[in-house]
């Protein structure tokens, strides 16, 4: 089967999700970092939408990669840019379907790990990406990949600080997930929404899952 996914629609859905999740992501980065992650992601994706509008002929993920690599601040901006870059290259090489996405996520995660040197369990976006890659590599569909990413992000709430920047966080952030992992999981949520609109994925708020519904 050759499900092809509209790249531009994925990015616009992701941008919408980032706007919805902005306050929650900001709160998460206030707990564990400097509070700018919500801004970085939302403004970055707004910039991507502007780029898509301005240069309709270009490959959407190449546009998105350029914006995130060149203009978005914070540690997360250029790392997400790398993911976009590799996804764009893979989709161009292997087509807009599951194969392309599996290759893109695999390559993107590899690049992020080469650069950022984080391992799974370090409480970073790697904890959302690694389960998604494993799912896609194992033949799973987009909705299952999204569920894996979301679960991985959610699990960072229980990770005790061990080393690197995570070690500064201490007890204070325990119980709340890593903002970067959560934000990247929303990409997979958006992908699944576009590719498998009938799948049961819940809302953006469900996806973020924080603050926990009372």
């Amino acid at each position: 089967m050759t499900v092809t996914v509209d790249q531009e629609k994925v990015l616009r859905t992701y941008a919408e999700a980032a706007r919805t999740a902005h306050d929650a992501l900001t709160a998460l980065d206030q707990l564990s970092g400097d509070g700018d992650f919500g801004d970085n992601l939302r403004e970055g994706l707004d910039g991507v939408e502007a780029g898509l509008d301005a240069r309709p002929g270009e490959a959407p993920f190449a546009v998105a990669a350029g914006v995130f690599l060149d203009e978005v601040g914070g540690t997360s901006g250029p790392l997400i840019g790398l993911l976009f870059q590799e996804v764009g290259r893979a989709l161009a090489a292997h087509g807009d379907g599951r194969e392309g996405w599996a290759a893109g996520v695999r390559e993107g995660l590899a690049a992020i790990q080469r650069v950022g040197e984080a391992e799974p369990g370090d409480r970073t976006m790697v904890d959302a990406l690694a389960p998604a890659r494993d799912a896609l590599d194992g033949g799973a569909g987009f909705a299952d990949a999204a569920r894996a990413a979301l679960a991985g992000a959610r699990a960072t709430a229980d990770i005790r600080a061990r080393r690197g920047r995570a070690s500064y966080v201490g007890e204070r952030a325990l119980g709340a997930p890593d903002p970067g992992a959560t934000g990247v999981a929303l990409l997979f949520w958006s992908l699944a929404r576009v590719a498998e609109p009938d799948a049961d994925l819940g809302s953006v708020a469900d996806a973020v899952g924080w603050p926990a519904a009372s």
Binding site: L69, P78, E86
Partner: protein, 335 residues
């Protein structure tokens, strides 16, 4: 009291403009994104050499741009890594037929930003490798995953790489040579006064009267140890011995760098040099080349560092190879 004379807006941009105006025959300024490139390049060079990092360590790196050393330098804000886009675009501008080599001091921010640029370059099909400089003995602790900091040895590595690149080495050979230069280099630094904290003015940390920081870094991090200030001779002897002891495969011929951390005068640095040479002489180590001056400072810190690079065969040719840059002493290449 802020002792720094800097414009309130974009000080690094202003300084780089002033730098390019001071050396119009040697370098070319690129303003957006900010970097400088060399005007001239050895025709035998197949790999572009690029370095960069936080500002406040001048003349590093821009002062070593020119024929025989770096092809480009990329400055971040004071003590902050440059943006990956600067590194990426500067790398594209100077990549040779066999790609580009990044010389990176070992700091998390620099590793990430240079790493991202490298991924972008690879995506463009431009071969890229990295040489990590990690010479600082004060951070030589098996426990920490981050490893030793990159400090004074950077200028030595940049010079040797420049000579090797002009000799026509390819990217992989050059990356391996650079790793060997870095592995053969160790440094230790002391300070008697902190640098001015760039934002608020005032000293970045306070020292008690009669004490010095032993093992200080170049970003104003305090050293692990504050020690009672020894005699001049005792201090220099201890530092020199520590560096020599750490070079497990120390050959009997070395390169030596006596480096000022900012506010330390040439009068002092030359006196330190005299004493270091005395110690090296006693240990039977011979010095094939030396730099004495302010090459890798920590803004205006009062202090100095001693770096030794243990030489292997044919490295000396690369050390003495011609280099024409704003800051590398021509006397080291002119004999």
């Amino acid at each position: 009291m802020n002792r720094l004379f800097l414009p309130a807006e974009a000080p690094v941009d202003a300084a780089l403009r002033g730098f390019a105006l001071a050396h119009p025959g040697l370098v070319r300024l690129h303003e957006d994104p900010l970097y400088v490139t060399a005007r001239d390049r050895h025709p035998g060079r197949r790999v572009g050499l690029l370095s960069g990092g936080g500002s406040g360590h001048e003349p590093l790196h821009a002062g070593f741009v020119g024929r025989g050393m770096l092809d480009a330098a990329v400055p971040g804000r004071v003590f902050a890594s440059p943006h990956n886009r600067q590194v990426y675009e500067a790398s594209r501008a100077v990549a040779g037929e066999d790609g580009v080599l990044h010389v990176v001091k070992n700091y998390t921010g620099d590793r990430i930003n240079f790493g991202i640029a490298a991924e972008r370059l690879r995506a463009d099909g431009i071969p890229v490798r990295r040489v990590l400089v990690d010479d600082d003995l004060a951070t030589d602790d098996a426990e920490t995953a981050t490893g030793r900091r990159g400090t004074g040895a950077t200028v030595v590595v940049e010079k040797l790489l420049g000579g090797a690149a002009d000799a026509g080495l390819g990217l992989d050979e050059l990356a391996e040579a650079g790793a060997a230069f870095a592995a053969a280099s160790r440094s230790i630094a002391v300070a008697a006064r902190a640098q001015t904290a760039p934002g608020r003015g005032g000293e970045a940390f306070e020292l008690v009267d009669g004490e010095i920081e032993y093992g200080v870094g170049i970003h104003g991090e305090r050293a692990a140890r504050t020690v009672e200030r020894p005699d001049f001779e005792d201090l220099v002897d201890r530092m020199t011995q520590q560096v020599l002891d750490a070079l497990t495969d120390a050959s009997d011929t070395v390169l030596l760098l006596v480096n000022g951390l900012g506010a330390t005068t040439l009068l002092e640095l030359y006196a330190v040099h005299d004493r270091v040479r005395h110690v090296l002489g006693e240990r039977g180590v011979s010095v094939a080349g030396q730099l004495v001056g302010t090459f890798v400072p920590a803004l205006d810190m009062s202090g100095f560092s001693v770096t030794v690079t243990s030489l292997r065969e044919n490295w000396l040719d690369w050390w003495h190879a011609p280099a024409l840059t704003p800051a590398f002493p021509v006397s080291e290449t002119a004999r």
